[in-house]
Amino acid sequence: MALLEVDNLRVEFPTRRGTLVAVDDVSFAIDEGEVLGVVGESGAGKSLTGTAIIGLLEPPGRVAGGEIRLEGKRIDKLPPDQMRRIRGAKIGAIFQDPLTSLNPLYRIGTQIVETVLTHTDLTPTKARMRALELLKEVGIPAAEHRIDHYPHQLSGGMRQRVVIALALCANPRLIIADEPTTALDVSIQAQILALLRRLGRDHGTAVMLVTHDMGVIAETAHRVAVMYAGRIAEIGAVRQVVGRPRHPYTVGLMGSIPAVGRDQERLTQIDGAMPRLTDIPRGCAFNPRCPHAFDRCFADRPDPIAMADGKVACWRFDQAEAAAEVGHA
């Protein structure tokens, strides 16, 4: 059984002009120690999927359908106080901007100790030792000294480490990292990603890594889900999705990323932009930008179709062809 299972998740925002479906029919699972990358452009619903799992959707947003199960138990219908106990204890969260995740008025040590005391039954003295341990674990040099610093005294990379330390306080089973390296410089980015990978390896922590950066996914994740307009376009092993993308959107996305050493006059260009939630086209949401769209794409919405070791939501890979390809592989 997978650690986290998400089945047909649907997130809606009721508005005066009708209901907006921001996440629709999203299903995936994350195993222990696995890093699942969730990638997509802004507005694809990747962050909302993460916030739905930790139960922090801002009203009026709500989970309107589907199930979220952690260690086999449903967590999407829990009352707020029970959910709060799971959050932090079983699920840790890391957000993009480390400065807004930390309280500027308290020393970082105080903030970590508070979190440790909330989720464990350690004594305050023990909790402080645990805080020190955590700061060392996330690679903060001179932790004994830094523990009494305020957030503003730390650099961006150091702050993000503190946020990771906070997320680790109660040894959570799952960490949801939403763009954890986007606000950081490349050299610091490498350090933070190495730290996330190590968590999975050493503690069996599962990580859901939400990012727009394919490079980050390619070197950190084991599996990757590509989201487009609230749905999963393609999901599978990272080698498969990055190396041999199948969905036309993934193909375009991979081609549009410039790479050092790849000489080309023009980048592959996906014309247009992701549709707004108010006017998602009928059929496949990608059809206005898809070079391969045919009549069926404009009529019916494709469901994810199982392929070799993943799923692709594209009519080009309907049963017959999919079977042929599986047989081929």
């Binding site: 452009e41 490349v186 350090q191 950066d213 549009s256 790479a259 006059e265």
Partner: protein, 375 residues
């Protein structure tokens, strides 16, 4: 350390075979459009006057840019790359004249900008040099229609005779950036980030400039939109013969758009040269470190070299070479003495004692990954 240093070999044949139209040697830029010499920009970050008097707090200078020499050839793209706080945006803003340099000169077509003191003398320069900013949500006035935003440079420089002519020119510019003439009637909030950046580009092109300074033009955009904007910029460069100064922290985007690359660290250009030279045979340890930190999308299984340390505070930079606290090759000389920029055997300009003394081997691991095979 011997006082007599090995002589720097003269810039002879380019070490990298010429793949395109020009040999890889920065010395061959005969007629640069923009030449920057010894450029420095300091910001006074001292406490207020009374605090200084009563508390005895010293004056403090932030040396955002401290000695930059580069040449930008006509019709090509020069990129400045580096981590946040390295001074790349300050260089850009000083070149377009938004900041007055604390030291050094900026020459545009051989004219020192400092000599253009009168407004009338500066106007032709401002017409020919335009800027594109990072955040397309902040750089367009939300209360103006797109038509007026794009028409502003045309009106300011009196480039059209009648209102009708202004409208025609704006329509032409909008089509040039792949929007439609009807979009001129709309307000910026009606557009997505990528479309807004197209509007910024149209505005920058409105005064028929020769030189565009692009400060992180795609950093706020999604990758598929970034590809659209980079393609558009390349098309416009070909059609209009534009020269670009491209500022970015994204090495892959820099590799894609540039002919020349300068790597900045703490207010200095530590290495610059032709793109292929810098990417295939990086000499400065910082350049190598940066190349090592590019996320590997080719899935070669290469582990990124984790780099220790962070960029020091530019208010209180380390003595000697600013990179020495993070440099694996640093010795006593690096701690004591600031390295000057010298031409390496590859033709790039490198400011590093280790490279100058031959302590650092030529070949770097990331170079192997840069495909120079195709010629």
């Amino acid at each position: 350390m011997p006082d007599h240093l090995p002589p720097v070999p003269p810039p002879t044949a380019p070490a990298v075979p010429p793949h395109g139209r020009r040999p890889d040697d920065a010395e061959l830029i005969r007629d640069p459009l923009v030449e920057v010499q010894g450029l420095a920009k300091y910001f006074d970050v001292s406490k207020p006057f009374l605090n200084r008097v009563f508390e005895g707090a010293p004056r403090r200078l932030l040396r955002a840019v401290d000695g930059v020499d580069i040449k930008i050839p006509r019709g090509e793209t020069f990129s400045l790359v580096g981590e946040s706080g390295c001074g790349k945006s300050t260089v850009a803003r000083t070149i377009v004249g938004l900041y007055r340099p604390s030291r050094g000169t900026v020459m545009f077509e051989g004219t020192d900008l400092a000599t253009l003191t009168r407004r009338a003398a500066r106007m032709p320069f401002h017409r020919r040099v335009q800027m594109i900013f990072q955040d397309p949500f902040a750089s367009l006035n939300p209360r103006w229609r797109v038509l007026d935003i794009i028409a502003e440079p045309i009106r300011a420089h009196r480039l059209a005779k009648s209102a009708q002519e202004v409208r025609e020119r704006v329509a032409e510019l909008l089509t040039q950036v792949k929007l439609t003439a009807r979009d001129g009637e709309k307000f910026p909030h009606e557009f997505s980030g990528g479309q807004r950046q197209r509007i910024s580009i149209a505005r920058a092109l409105a005064s028929n400039p020769d030189f565009l300074v692009c400060d992180e033009p795609t950093s706020a955009l999604d990758v598929s939109v970034q590809a659209q904007i980079l393609n558009l910029m390349k098309d416009l460069q070909r059609e209009l013969g534009l020269t670009y100064l491209f500022i970015s922290h994204n090495l892959a985007a820099v590799y894609h758009v540039s002919d020349w690359v300068g790597v900045m660290y703490l207010g200095r250009v530590v290495e610059w040269g032709a793109k292929r030279t810098v990417f295939s045979t990086p000499r400065h340890p910082y350049t190598r470190m940066l190349l090592d930190t590019i996320p590997d999308i080719t899935m070669s299984g290469r582990e990124r070299m984790p780099v220790g340390g962070e960029v020091p505070n530019p208010i209180d930079p380390p003595p000697g070479c600013p990179f020495h606290p993070r440099c694996p090759h640093a010795n006593e000389r690096c701690v004591a003495e600031l390295p000057a920029s010298k031409v390496s055997e590859q033709g790039s300009h490198v400011a590093c004692h280790g490279v100058e003394e031959g302590r650092i081997p030529t070949h770097a691991a990331p170079g192997a990954k840069v495909g120079l095979g195709k010629g």
